[in-house]
């Protein structure tokens, strides 16, 4: 197996030395033509595993510090060369004020137009943990109120403190909604396990009617589930008390997807806490199941 190890410094340095973003987005013919932008910096920290996920799925990954993007941010086509935009986990600006808030504001004020253009052009986006919180702050998720060609919408949902205060680390089981338009979860399920680790993951909607609209449109691709696979609000299967077990959201196109748990931390079969038991039972998957999320993203980019 070739090493797809990403050394943060090395890759960042390259990106800084020779910004190589093509200005138009050609239709990809094969996986390696799929270009993924992983935004880094300011306390984000899951760049290596996110990059490993997309590169194992065959795509070409650029790790770029947000400050480099902002230098080009005035241009509406700043993101045009990319098929997939990854908003990664970590503690942007320490999660001070509120998780994702400062980072999302910086994007909204300085990269908003380019983000809107990227979405309108059918770009794909994945937000994990802090990245999901960022997408929600940006109003891109659930993203039901923004019309094409308009600026970023106001925020409509929020990820608030876990019912049991504090960061909590556990593996969770997610029930996957096969009827969701989400392209990232296609064919995954009925359940998938992965690590969850956050302090602010309880998802609240602006109002009840929005919640109903989201549920009716099947924009909740993943829910925390109990051992039987049924959605749950009970701790610790649901680590934050999110109503209805909502663990993630997608937009109506299904191309923008965010979730609190970390598919990026299940790229290897041996990440799973039961990997030895699974192997003894002949049930060890060939790769970590979180990889399937990344493969789906690349597949969707190839399908156009």
């Amino acid at each position: 197996m070739p090493s797809d190890g990403q050394r943060l410094g090395a890759t960042l340095g390259q990106a800084e030395l020779r910004p190589q973003t093509p200005m138009t987005r050609p239709a990809p013919k094969e996986a390696r033509d799929v270009r993924v932008l992983v935004l880094t910096g300011y306390g984000l920290n899951c760049e290596a595993e996110t990059a490993a996920g997309f590169s194992r799925a065959g795509a070409t990954v650029d790790l770029v510090h947000l400050s480099e993007m902002l230098e080009r941010g005035g241009r509406a086509d700043a993101l045009a060369g990319y098929h997939i935009l990854a908003f990664i986990g970590g503690f942007s600006f320490g999660d001070h004020i509120q998780s994702g808030r400062v980072f999302a504001n910086r994007l909204r004020f300085r990269l908003g137009e380019a983000l809107c253009r990227f979405v309108d052009d059918g770009g794909l986006a994945l937000g994990v943990c802090n990245g999901f919180q960022t997408l929600v702050c940006l109003g891109l998720l659930p993203g039901v109120s923004r019309a094409r060609g308009t600026p970023l919408a106001a925020q409509q949902a929020a990820l608030v403190h876990n019912d049991r205060l504090g960061y909590f680390d556990t593996w969770v089981k997610l029930a996957v909604d096969a009827e969701s338009p989400c392209v990232w979860t296609r064919g995954v399920g009925p359940t998938i396990e992965m690590p969850s680790r956050h302090g602010e993951g309880k998802l609240l909607f602006q109002d009840e009617s929005l919640r109903e609209q989201i549920l009716a449109s099947r924009l909740v691709p993943v829910r925390y589930a109990d051992a039987s696979g049924a959605p749950t609000e009970v701790w610790p299967d649901n680590p934050n008390g999110s109503p209805g077990g909502v663990a993630g959201l997608c937009d109506p196109t299904g191309r923008i997807f965010g979730l609190m748990p970390h598919p990026d931390a299940y790229l290897y079969p041996e990440n799973h806490p039961d990997w030895i038991r699974q192997r003894d039972a002949g049930a060890l998957p060939a790769a970590g199941l979180g990889l399937r999320i990344f493969e789906n993203g690349v597949r969707a980019a190839l399908a156009g």
Binding site: G94, H96, V102, Q155, N271, P273
Partner: protein, 993 residues
């Protein structure tokens, strides 16, 4: 400049988790039952912005979905039902990381840079408690007066606009401190009052130096000498000659000190043995860099080395558990990062020795209750590591009431160092004269002044509050990201942490490489004005590193830092003048020859005499009587609930174990993922299968009987742990962390000679173990003043050694856990069980002082471990567990809970002639519990039979999906315990809270 107060609160329908947690803590700790609590965030913006701009900022930072916000004050509930309002905010000059981010958010919202600062606070609106109870809640739970201020309001209130601006308008000058003609008493007083922690002979040495130069020292020079010569930085006790009288009464001189005689010697002996055996082939020495840098470095793969360092942060954690412990973890991150030219941080470890959480006795005034220290230490290390994006791979808690004075707070970091960077070996710095001195990261304030000297003396009522620092992990993370880029571009030639002693230490150490340095303190960016030059020189303000940048690279280095919003400032130049010259603008503050600074410390011969205090030990009859009263099943369950045995999962789950996506065997294992792993395993690079294995040993209680046996037991357990997880036996290395009570005889330490003899004995034991196990010591730390005197009461920690072992695997898919795999597998105990219950968990459970400390025979055990490792290599081992505290019974219980399978074991062959309780709870070292397939049993017996292999029984299917432990002897069943009963006891605390 007007100050704008912003208050932000959750909407009424949105739960307030901080309020819920606060109410629970007040109830559990103080028995207070408020009717309701709500919390608010308060931001006092002391920034040059207009009223309209403040409104714009508020709209940008408050959550439109879940929060309400106001400029000024939000309404404080209904008029007829007023709360008592407690506001907790920082004292002037204390790091306010949130305030820094709020300022950034303000600048982003307004699109321009702002002058000034933001000061943050938390408001607690409490209903249903009288003001006096709220004051008590503040004093005992919510507020630490060393770093925070409080205000209590009762509505109607006028919004408080006072901000804790720090600093003074005038800058104090460098002063001359005359030493000539001072009596010894006056020198001693000067040392004490300035917190120099220099002894009279050391003051004499300093005075002689300046007399020879024909002048008196400046305050900065004395401070610089004090930091450099501190116990913390110079490890005086570890390096000094010792006249040692051993237990047999023979006296000899340990001329080179214990560090060189035992610690360095162990490593050198291992290095020689490796060289003569040719074990490393032509792949290069296993030991890449030891004892010479901020952390130890060993060879791992052709692509990267492994770096490891464990630190202690005891004194700061006693004063401010949250901030002190957080700076422990972010500080050791800088050590591992700043090794060579810089390493990529990979994994963190933690371990705390604390007073018992249920401590109910009276505490000397000035000490915090152990439960508050515990809570604060955990949260500080959780926040520091999690926010840095580094997974925690090990953690332990150990309780004894001798830790109520100074807790021991261990924090460690493993890093992966690329073998080469920009065409150079990464483990070597190449600082040359002419390279610029750049300070990078946070700014300098009065926080952390005298940290190094403060930790070199006991804790008492007059301990300096400014020694406390608070970390800002995000500022540090941004610095690390930038430095990693700079490293890969080859922009700098040397780097080191600004930790203990601040710039005086970091520049002073790096200056040794080039042969001198010249610094202008007036260029150092300050948090606020008014610092004296000597304060700038020794401040230990956090998140800073010192970097040597060749002049040609300086523009590129500074430009990169600016792009990444990391503050970097050129403050001087490395020279070859042989002197450390410090100016403040035109004024010279310090001019010291490096030879004197680093070599001028006078050596004192210390005296060590083995003279243990008399102990009254329980007799065999006492023990028999106590055991006869307790059925075995009762003992097993009670043991699992002992503070040092139970799960600890409650806190551990708040540490991130998964970030980076590389973990393979995590800190908790088993079906329910609630059993602490023997050792942990993780990949090091994505896409590669080589792994790092971590384990440790710590047994302070054994020191009460024999520090020599204690040290052997610690090293032995660390080795057994990593081997039990499948580590290669030929690639182990260790760190030694000594935390001792003051071992220098004095009026307040009459038993100092014995404590120093305990140190000698421990070092002897450590040496023996390391040489026998081929275990080089690659780095370490000694902390020698772990005493507190409060209100006339002196509390000293027991002599404590932590041995942290780092192992390696060629393929993590060969890793083992403690969890048995399948019914029908055979259970074995490898290694003899002796009557070794002295200072064991059994002795504490029974409340008896028992004799018989575990005896480690490292040469014999080493042969056993080689045989075990070979058996694993041959595929004969299915699971393995290390016997530790609580002995066989605890290890078996772990295996049952982890697997939810039945274990049926017979004790007959374990310890023939001994009581079953001794067989179950003896803490004999050198033992591994393992399982194998029944078809492999004879092959395993052939290999391990000569090494004390005992067949215990077999793995059974479990009953209704639940595991059980059945213990038999002489055909009788002594105990049968289901996993639910075991787990109830094991998780007693988790359930209670």
């Amino acid at each position: 400049m007007p100050i704008y107060r912003l208050e932000i609160e959750n909407r009424p329908a949105v739960p307030d988790a901080l309020a819920t947690k606060t109410a629970q803590t007040l109830s559990a700790w103080l028995g207070l039952s408020p009717a309701r609590i709500r919390t608010r965030k308060v931001y006092l913006c002391d920034l040059d912005m207009s009223e309209a701009e403040a409104e714009k900022v508020l709209a940008a930072i408050a959550d439109p979905v879940i929060e309400v916000a106001a400029k000024g004050a939000l309404p404080d509930g209904e008029p007829g039902d007023p709360p008592v309002i407690l506001t907790v905010s920082f004292l002037p000059g204390v790091t306010d990381a949130v305030g820094k981010s709020v300022k950034t958010a303000c600048e982003d919202a307004l699109g321009r840079a702002l002058a000034g600062q933001v000061y943050t606070g938390t408001m607690y609106l409490v209903w249903g408690l009288p003001r006096a109870d709220v004051e008590r809640a503040a004093a005992e739970v919510l507020h630490n007066p060393l770093i925070q201020r409080i205000r209590i309001d009762e509505p109607p209130r006028r919004p408080d606009l006072s901000v804790p601006r720090a600093g003074a308008t005038s800058t104090p000058r460098t002063e001359i401190v005359p030493l000539r003609g001072l009596s010894d008493e006056a020198l001693e007083k000067l040392s004490r009052e300035r917190l120099l922690a220099l002894s009279v002979p050391e003051m004499h040495a300093a005075r002689a130096h300046f007399e020879a130069e024909g002048r008196e020292p400046t305050d900065a020079e004395l401070e610089c000498i004090a930091q450099t010569w501190s116990e913390h930085c110079k490890h005086k006790i570890f390096n000094t000659p010792i006249d040692y009288t051993d237990p047999q009464g023979n006296t000899r001189r340990i001329e080179r000190g214990v560090f060189k005689t035992y610690v360095v010697a162990a490593t050198e002996d291992v290095r020689k043995a490796r060289a003569s055996s040719g074990i490393d082939g032509d792949g290069g020495d296993f030991l890449v860099s030891v004892f010479s840098d901020n952390a130890g470095v060993v060879r791992f793969t052709d692509e990267c080395h492994l770096v490891y360092k464990v630190e202690t942060h005891n004194s700061p954690s006693a004063l401010d558990p949250y901030g002190g412990a957080m700076t422990g973890i972010v500080g050791v991150n800088r050590d591992s990062f700043g090794c060579g030219l810089g390493a990529d941080l990979l994994a963190n470890v933690w371990g705390y020795c604390l007073g018992k959480p249920n401590h109910s006795g009276a505490l000397p005034k000035g000490l915090m209750p152990p439960r508050r220290i515990r809570e604060g230490v955990h949260h500080g290390v959780i926040d520091g590591g999690n926010q840095s994006g580094i997974p925690y791979m090990r953690g332990f808690e150990l309780f004894d009431d001798r830790f109520v004075g100074k807790p021991l707070v261990y924090c460690g970091t493993v890093a992966a160092m690329p073998v080469e960077t920009a065409g150079r070996p990464t483990h070597e710095k190449f600082t040359a004269p002419g390279d610029r001195i750049v300070m990078i990261g946070g700014r300098v304030g009065k926080d952390g002044i005298h940290g190094a000297t403060f930790s070199s003396v006991e804790l008492n009522e007059s301990s300096p509050v400014q020694a406390v620092q608070i970390g800002d992990p995000i500022t540090q993370k941004m610095m690390f990201d930038m430095l990693a880029e700079a490293r890969d571009r080859g922009l700098y030639s040397g780097i080191t942490d600004n930790g203990a002693g601040g710039l005086s230490s970091s520049v002073g150490e790096m200056a040794e490489a080039s042969g001198g340095a010249e610094v202008d303190l007036a260029r150092v960016p300050l948090k606020y004005p008014g610092l004296a030059p000597w304060e700038i020189l020794v401040s230990e303000a956090q998140e800073r590193m010192t970097v040597a940048v060749p002049p040609d690279n300086l523009p590129a280095f500074l430009a990169l830092a600016a792009r990444r919003e990391v503050e970097a400032t050129e403050i001087g130049t490395f020279t070859n003048s042989g002197r450390l010259v410090i100016r403040y603008g035109e004024e010279k503050a310090c001019d010291l020859p490096l030879a004197f600074l680093h070599g001028g410390l006078p050596k004192v011969v210390r005296s060590a005499r083995w003279s243990p205090p008399a102990r009254t030990l329980a007799t065999a009859a006492d023990r028999e009587k106590a055991l006869a009263a307790r059925p075995v099943a009762d003992l097993v369950v009670s043991m699992l609930a002992q503070p040092n045995i139970r799960s600890g999962e409650r806190y551990a789950r708040h540490y991130d174990h998964e970030v980076k996506g590389l973990a393979v065997v995590k800190p908790f294992v088993g079906v329910s993922r609630d059993v602490p792993a023997t050792a942990t395993v993780m990949r090091v690079r994505h896409g590669r299968d080589e792994g790092v294995v971590l384990g440790e040993g710590i047994h302070p209680h054994y020191s009460d009987l024999d520090a020599h046996a204690m040290a052997l037991a610690c090293a032995d357990e660390g080795v057994r742990r990593v081997l039990s997880a499948g580590a290669r036996i030929d690639r182990m290395a260790a760190l030694d962390n000594f935390c001792w009570p003051d071992p220098i005889k004095s009026a307040t330490t009459p038993d100092g000679e014995h404590k120093l003899a305990q140190l000698v004995r421990a070092c002897e034991g450590l040496y023996e173990a390391c040489v026998a196990y081929g275990l080089p010591l690659i780095s370490g730390k000694d902390s020698m003043k772990n005493d507190a005197t409060m209100g006339g009461v002196k509390i000293s920690v027991p002599p404590t050694l932590l041995v942290s072992v780092i192992g390696q695997m060629k393929d993590v898919r060969r890793a083992l856990t403690l969890s048995p795999r399948a019914p029908g597998d055979v259970v074995y105990l490898l290694g003899e069980t002796e009557d070794a219950c002295g200072e064991s968990e059994l002795s504490r459970l029974l409340g008896l002082s028992l004799d018989g400390v575990p005896r480690t025979d490292p040469k014999r055990f080493a042969a056993r471990y080689h045989a075990f490792a070979a058996a694993h290599e041959a595929g004969l081992v299915r699971s393995a567990h290390t016997l530790s505290r609580g002995g066989l019974a605890v290890a078996l219980s772990h295996m049952v809970m982890a697997s939810e399978l039945g274990l049926s074991v017979a004790l007959d062959a374990v310890a023939p002639g001994l009581a079953p309780a001794v067989a179950l709870f003896s803490e004999s070292t050198g033992r591994i519990l393992l399982t194998t397939r029944s078809e492999d049993a004879s092959a395993l017996e052939a290999r391990l039979g000569p090494h004390g292999l005992v067949r215990l029984g077999s793995v059974e299917p479990g009953a209704s999906g639940r595991g059980y432990l059945r213990i038999r002897q002489g055909g009788q069943t002594l105990a049968e315990l289901g996993s639910d009963a075991l787990r109830r006891a094991f998780q007693e605390e988790s359930h209670a809270v």
